[in-house]
Assembly symmetry: C2
């Protein structure tokens, strides 16, 4: 294989460091679509998605310390899925903490200070803010959540919510769970 002629998979995370949030997130979504075009295995697709999210945020100088997934294992339990970052809690009950709340309410949780969130589950004591987006099937079943943690307070806003919800919908379309 000639390295000079071919795009490597790793190049999908070469996000421009000069782009704004929307352009970067558009690129993240398009890259996910390209990577999952011929692939419906959820482990494979979410493993690459966790890396796309991580590198997109890092290119924007947003101090994410965890980007990944929890998947519904039983009707009321989330189990750790593919992620980038430090070792994390394996099991989270629906309704508990930020992830469990997003999963049971089927609503995105944007938390500017995790320590003020009732029942917050701290996998990492350094985390300051968090966004959790539910992944909901066409039939209305919670399949899992996208979870991002940041070392800074108030890291996530409506733009993050909009694009991560778009990603969740792409995941539902592309993956067999």
């Amino acid at each position: 294989m000639n390295n000079n002629e071919q795009k490597h998979h790793a190049d999908y995370v070469s996000f421009s460091t000069n782009a704004d949030k929307k352009d970067t997130f558009d690129m993240m979504i398009m890259s996910y679509q390209a990577l999952s075009a011929d692939q419906d295995n959820w482990v494979c697709n979410l493993s690459n998605a966790s890396s796309l999210i991580w590198h997109a945020y890092k290119s924007l100088n947003i101090n994410v310390n965890w980007t990944g997934f929890y998947l519904a294992n039983t009707p009321c339990t989330l189990l750790l899925g593919p992620f980038q970052g430090k070792v994390a809690c394996q099991e989270i009950q629906f309704g508990k903490g930020v992830c469990g709340t997003a999963a049971s309410a089927q609503q995105t949780q944007v938390v500017s200070d995790v320590n003020k969130f009732p029942g917050h589950i701290a996998c990492d004591g350094e985390t300051k803010s968090e966004i959790v987006v539910p992944i909901v099937s066409a039939e209305g079943k919670t399949l899992g959540v996208i979870d991002l943690d940041c070392l800074d307070f108030d890291a996530f806003n409506e733009i993050d919510k909009e694009y991560l919800e778009k990603l969740a919908s792409e995941i539902v379309k592309s993956c067999r769970f």
Copy 2:
């Protein structure tokens, strides 16, 4: 939850930066055993394992750029599993490249210069050396491989092989595939 009283999951990757290779790898194996003690879901366990490996190597100042897993999907295809690092190739045929060779030969491949390996599959053009360890069931079936890439030539040796093979055997014992 009181952050001062409880060990967080993220603390499992707080490897000492003064420890030698064997001590660090012993800690990595023990941490994997602790994390998988009550958990047999392979996605969950390998997601945390990819992070343990990444942070163990980083604490040793070894420039790994990818640490993760490929899993046997059909009898002759490996599919991307949980990892830390940049987006990677999704599918690898048994017998192809370093991962495919480890999977079909059921033998660890230590490659000091990937560009000299016949049929090397470059997911990342920056990778210089690689180690791939097969994960083989008690019945002799290849379940997948542990794959580590490094930005430096000749990064892996017999110690890496020994401990990653130990980890592979812990994975076989702890996970339901």
